[in-house]
C-alpha cells in the first residue's frame, strides 16, 4: 500500500530562516531534505522520523523568535518607563 509522503516543513523552515533564527531554520531545511530523499527511496519510517525532527526544529525556531521579540519589547518598554519615571522627558 502506498503511504502518503510525510509533511516536510520546508516552507516553515525557510520562513524561520528569513525571519528569525537561521540555525534552527537551516537544520529544519536539512531534515526536510531528508524527508523528501528518504521517501523517494522508499524509506517511509526514516522519512517519518526526519519529518518529526524538522517539525521540532521549526517549532523551536518559532518559539525562540517569538520569545526574543517579546523580551526585546519588554526590555525597551521597561527602559522607557524608568526613563519617564526619572523625569527624562520632562523637558518636552
Amino acid at each position: 500500500m502506498e503511504q502518503p509522503q510525510p509533511k516536510n516543513y520546508l516552507v516553515e523552515a525557510i520562513l524561520i530562516t528569513i525571519f528569525c533564527c537561521q540555525p534552527f531554520g537551516i537544520v529544519g531545511i536539512v531534515f526536510s531534505s531528508q524527508v523528501n530523499s528518504k521517501y523517494a527511496v522508499g524509506d517511509y519510517e526514516g522519512a517519518l522520523q526526519a519529518s518529526k525532527e524538522a517539525k521540532k526544529w521549526t517549532k523551536w525556531g518559532f518559539i525562540t523568535g517569538l520569545v526574543a521579540g517579546i523580551l526585546f519589547l519588554l526590555i525597551y518598554g521597561a527602559i522607557f518607563f524608568f526613563a519617564y519615571q526619572s523625569g527624562e522627558f520632562n523637558d518636552f
Binding site: S33, Y76, F80
Partner: protein, 145 residues
C-alpha cells in the same frame, strides 16, 4: 453524539479563541511594520549575528523589507533582502497548490516535496549568505541598507 456536544462546543470555543489571538497578533504586527520604519527606531529586535560579529545573516533586512512591502515599495523590498522575495514566492506557491488540491480536488504535484528542492534552496541560502557579506560591488547590493 449528543453526549459530546458539550465537549465539541468547548473545542470550538478554544479554536476560535486561538484564531482570534493569532488574528490580533498578525494585525498588531502589520500595523507596527506599516507605520514604523525599523531604520528609524531602536526598540525592534536586532539580528544577534550582526550585533556580535558585524556579519549579515540570510535574514538581515527582513524587518525593513516587511516595512517596505506593507508600504508597497517593491524596489525597497529587493534592496533590503532579495531572499525575502524568494521566501514570499515559495510561501505563496505552497499555499496556492495546497488550496487548489484541497478545495478544488486537484492533484497538482507540489515541488516542495521534490527530493532536490530542499538541497537547492539550502545552497541558494548559503550562497546568498556568503555573497551579501562581500563588501565590494556588485555583491554589496545584496546587503541590507
Amino acid at each position: 453524539m449528543e453526549r459530546f456536544s458539550f465537549l465539541h462546543t468547548k473545542v470550538v470555543s478554544l479554536m476560535t479563541f486561538k484564531h482570534v489571538a493569532i488574528f490580533l497578533l498578525l494585525l498588531g504586527i502589520v500595523l507596527l511594520y506599516l507605520n514604523i520604519n525599523p531604520n528609524e527606531v531602536d526598540f525592534l529586535p536586532k539580528c544577534p549575528l550582526y550585533f556580535t560579529t558585524g556579519l549579515y545573516c540570510p535574514g538581515c533586512g527582513s524587518q525593513r523589507a516587511t516595512h517596505q512591502l506593507l508600504n508597497l515599495n517593491f524596489l525597497g523590498v529587493v534592496q533590503q533582502n532579495l531572499l525575502y522575495v524568494l521566501g514570499f514566492v515559495i510561501f505563496t506557491y505552497h499555499i496556492v497548490i495546497l488550496g487548489l488540491n484541497r478545495f478544488l480536488n486537484k492533484t497538482y504535484y507540489n515541488y516542495i516535496y521534490h527530493p532536490k528542492t530542499p538541497i537547492a534552496l539550502l545552497l541558494v541560502i548559503i550562497a546568498f549568505w556568503i555573497f551579501r557579506n562581500i563588501p565590494t560591488y556588485p555583491f554589496n547590493l545584496l546587503a541590507p541598507q
